[in-house]
């Protein structure tokens, strides 16, 4: 015996309610996305990243050739040519590890006021080596205290061994 249609109706309504709730959640997600990725912010400005180099924390200097892979124990830093960005532009530079955590940054401030070209990756608290995985470095334009445009980005890999 199959259930009567009036018995199924509450279930049907309930699942439609679930669908409506899902749409509310998606709208909330879209609003969040738009607030952090506001449209119409592209200026066409491009920052120049000279490269990612091995870094010496004691002397706070880079050495060697630019590289795309580093071992876990090797500190490294990105070198940014801040003069490639128009004066008066509010900028910041940030490193993200493979968990999406910020592990190094410079700024925010006006491009002409940024004096340190090397932006190193800092070791996470309690660790003696970097976490392996893909690291993302970005130079961002800041507006109203919030990053709104990526002017340059670079990906490097920290090897597991």
């Amino acid at each position: 015996m199959t259930p009567r249609s009036d018995e199924i109706l509450p279930l049907y309504r309930a699942i439609k309610l679930v669908g409506a709730l899902a749409i509310v959640i998606f709208v909330a997600g879209a609003l969040e996305f738009v607030s952090f990725e506001p449209p119409g912010q592209t200026t066409g400005t491009v920052a120049r990243i000279q490269g990612v180099y091995a870094y010496n924390p004691d002397s706070r200097s880079v050495s060697g050739e630019p590289a795309g892979h580093f071992s876990r124990g090797q500190p490294f830093a990105a070198v940014v040519d801040w003069t490639s960005i128009p004066a008066g532009t509010q900028v910041a530079a940030r490193w993200f590890d493979s968990f999406g955590e910020v592990v190094g940054q410079a700024g925010p401030g006006n491009a002409e006021a940024m004096t340190e070209n090397a932006v190193p990756v800092a070791l996470p608290q309690g660790l003696t080596q970097n976490i392996p995985g893909t690291y993302l470095f970005v130079v961002e334009r800041i507006s109203h205290g919030q990053p709104v445009e990526v002017l340059a980005r670079r990906l490097v890999e920290v090897e597991r061994t």
């Binding site: 015996m1 259930p3 199924i8 699942i15 679930v18 899902a22 997600g29 990725e37």
Partner: protein
Amino acid sequence: MNLRRTGRYQLALLLAGVLFLVLVASSALDYLSLDQIPNRGALLGLPAVALIGGATWVGLRAFQQAPTVRRRYELWAGTLFALALLLWLLVLDVFVFTQQAGPKVAALSALACLPPTAFGLWVVHRLDREEKEPWRLVLVATAWGAIMATSLVIWAESLFQDWAINALVPGPGLDATNAFSAGLFEELAKGVAVLLLYLVMRDQFHDVVDGIVYGAAVGLGFNFMESIGYMTYLDSLFGPTAAGFQWYHRQVLDLFFGHATYTALVGAGIGIARQLPGRRQQVLAIACGWLGAIAAHFAWDAWLTFFPLGTGAITLIQVHLRVLAMNGPFTAVVLVLLLMGRRIEGRNLVRQLGLEAARSGPRRSRSWPALGDGSAHDWRPGPAATSGSAGCSEHRSPWPWGAGTGSAASRTARRMPSRTCAAGSCSCGQPVVRVSRGGLDSHLRPPGGQAQGRTADS
């Protein structure tokens, strides 16, 4: 075979074909990008190759058989081929997910995850109290979640995240985008298992309760493989304590709240569609269930950062509260749908029993309304009712109605004497009711016939 069934099978075949192509592409990408796989993968993939060989041999032999026997050979060939595919995907999965910490940690993680997952499956299997789903299908659903679904999402998510990381500003916007991709791809990959069961296993897929059972089983399988992946990764980074915490979070705290809940929502939508008459309503129910699952998954991934954890002992409390606050409402929705579905099953049972009682006489029919409170779920077949081997004797009814209901009618029903039928004969002359999905299909026992299925006298 009617036209609708043919259409369903064609759709299932199309889905399976698309999935196969995606898996071939995934394997090719694995081969090209993960240089450790070819050597070890080829070695461990040998059993898969042997199974493919076996499937081919049996499949070829099928053509030489008479049509009546051919189907059995074809079934064997298909089973061997499916096993080979699963084994090969498992090999790939093991390498993709566990290469971080090595096989020993991966094996230990798998061993640690087995008991909670098995317990979860046992609980899920018991959700359907009227007619439990066959273990083989529940385990197939679990295997799909663990092996097929994880294989399907690896590259989809990786490619999407590669695009996102190169196109968006890092931060909450990027996190939300990645969360959406995880919800979309993972729920599609998991939910397609429930959809295929719905399309081709109608005999074992009847309603919302079945959908929730199959969906949760797929989710538990996915959670099993994902737990191993995360545990091995965190062990390689932070040691066994981090892996242990991850085990607790995913296999204890999140066992029913995470993937099991999400895919149960997909299953609920498909199960409700199974009970609806109109095509438009069916599509809408399936879409709503799927959207609910994607949204629940998205909400967890995207808004986890809104519930930051502190340090010290308070973290333990916060972790639990966070899961309850973020996933709890969706699990509650699944439970509500489950209870509604079980209530409908109970009413069907009552209605069918009422019909049977009306046919067999007025004495029992007065008792059936006592079942309307859902206490019919508490039915357990008595030994005589199931085996049919006991002698024909007076004993308590195998229908312990109203356990906990306390109604006068149910008490009356509980006191009712009844009879059982000895194997091969039934001297009491009562019709026998066979319990099946959506109620009871009654059939009068043929004279001297053997009781089949769950039987109860009426």
